[in-house]
Symmetry: C2
Subunit: 220 residues, 2 copies
DNA sequence: CGGGACTTGTGAAACCATTCACAATCCAAC
DNA sequence: GTTGGATTGTGAATGGTTTCACAAGTCCCG
């Protein structure tokens, strides 16, 4: 299999979301142009993205919504459920527990950890908060770790998560994380986005125009 | 001024965060190589990023931490404070209100709106939740709107926000937004990141390797 | 069964971002 | 001063992603 860019993978997620919506609305068939229009990209881009993984359409007709949906779910690894651990039961952690929308996509938070003894042992959305000290042992069988601790603690937590053989991390700490090659990291950083908006606002005033693409999440 | 990519702007934010940290630790001078190492990029990339905006270093020596900090704050438009409105007082909105870390970077949430009559009028972190119907009038003087409503309601809200002359939007709804050319939009989409991790996990098993860059936030 | 309208899949071209490589510059030490 | 070691700023080269353009395939209709 060829090397596929993160941009492509992100777009596949977007396509999948739209397809799910359209399927619910009873749409059975869809052309690349329409898919592109509704996802904010180009028809050529849609076809190129899909072409990395096979051929899914019918010439002259477009794509079958249920078939493409299934194909994308397979590509993205969404045919199974993933076991997720949340590390850090602070404000962000609380929001994630409350807003478990991603459960619908197959991501189940099955363990929660915190370093604060006052929080350990309390129940939270049906889960008991575990001691930070138990990380190593309790991360057995976890696929993805969500790191929602202060920036200063993040690298330390990540080292222990990696040692526990977790190979995917969703990071909410605004800091760079060093991980081995085989561990995937994605970072969500709201402050960064706000600063991007700030730049856009002052530069609109300065007369600058449209900017282009976006930065890389690290891996390895 | 030349066209500058969003990747560059995002990295400038990262540099600024590190510089702030280093300044607090008493570091006064810094070379591009060290800055790069600590931010997960390359020395050449750091220098190229900065070169779009001027020359800030001293050959043979590196960059003055306070001077570069000030320069970056200027470039990113962080020398002033921004007035932010939060639209949607649900789970995500609640997390944002509670976790106001970005206040330190100059972003003040000064208004909150919700469509649910049960929530309107209640006080929340010192702000009274306003009626959705008052959006148009109450958005006067707002620089940035945070859209934290369900995907199905997002485009409608955005249209009204744009009509109220807000020119920057931070979107938490997992949906594409259509906005005029002059409005900047950044989207935060956790489900997308999780799906990227899912892909990485299944593809590691399939034997694929390292992927590269990341998707674009829309503008216009 | 053949023509026309439409759409896919894909090599090639265009575009954009990153890395390279080096001249220009600076500081410190002697 | 002058030498040596270090670092920036930047044009050129490289590498990667997106767009273009078109042959090949599909369906519908008469």
């Amino acid at each position: 299999m060829k090397k596929v860019s993160e941009s492509t993978i992100a777009r596949l997620s977007v396509y999948l979301r739209l397809l799910t919506e359209l399927a619910a609305a009873g749409v059975t068939t869809l052309a690349s142009g329409e898919l592109a229009r509704r996802c904010g990209t180009s028809a050529a881009q849609v076809r190129k993205d899909l072409s990395f993984f096979g051929t899914f359409g019918k010439r002259g007709l477009g794509y079958s919504v249920p078939e493409l949906t299934e194909a994308l779910r397979g590509i993205l690894g969404l045919e199974r459920r993933w076991r997720v651990a949340l590390i850090g039961a602070g404000k962000i952690g609380a929001a994630l527990m409350a807003y478990q929308d991603f459960r619908r996509q197959g991501f189940d938070i099955v363990a929660v950890f915190d370093a604060d003894p006052a929080r350990v042992g309390t129940e939270w959305q049906g889960l008991v908060i575990q001691r930070d000290a138990d990380l190593e042992t309790s991360l057995q069988g976890i696929d993805i770790a969500i790191v929602a601790v202060p920036a200063s603690a993040a690298q330390g937590v990540v080292n222990r998560v990696v040692a526990a053989d977790v190979r995917a991390i969703l990071n909410f700490a605004p800091t760079k994380l060093d991980v081995p090659e085989h561990v995937a990291v994605k970072t969500v950083n709201m402050a960064l986005e706000l600063e991007g908006l700030s730049y856009a606002l002052v530069n609109e005033a300065r007369g600058a125009r449209r900017v282009t693409s976006r930065p890389a999440a690290s891996r390895g």
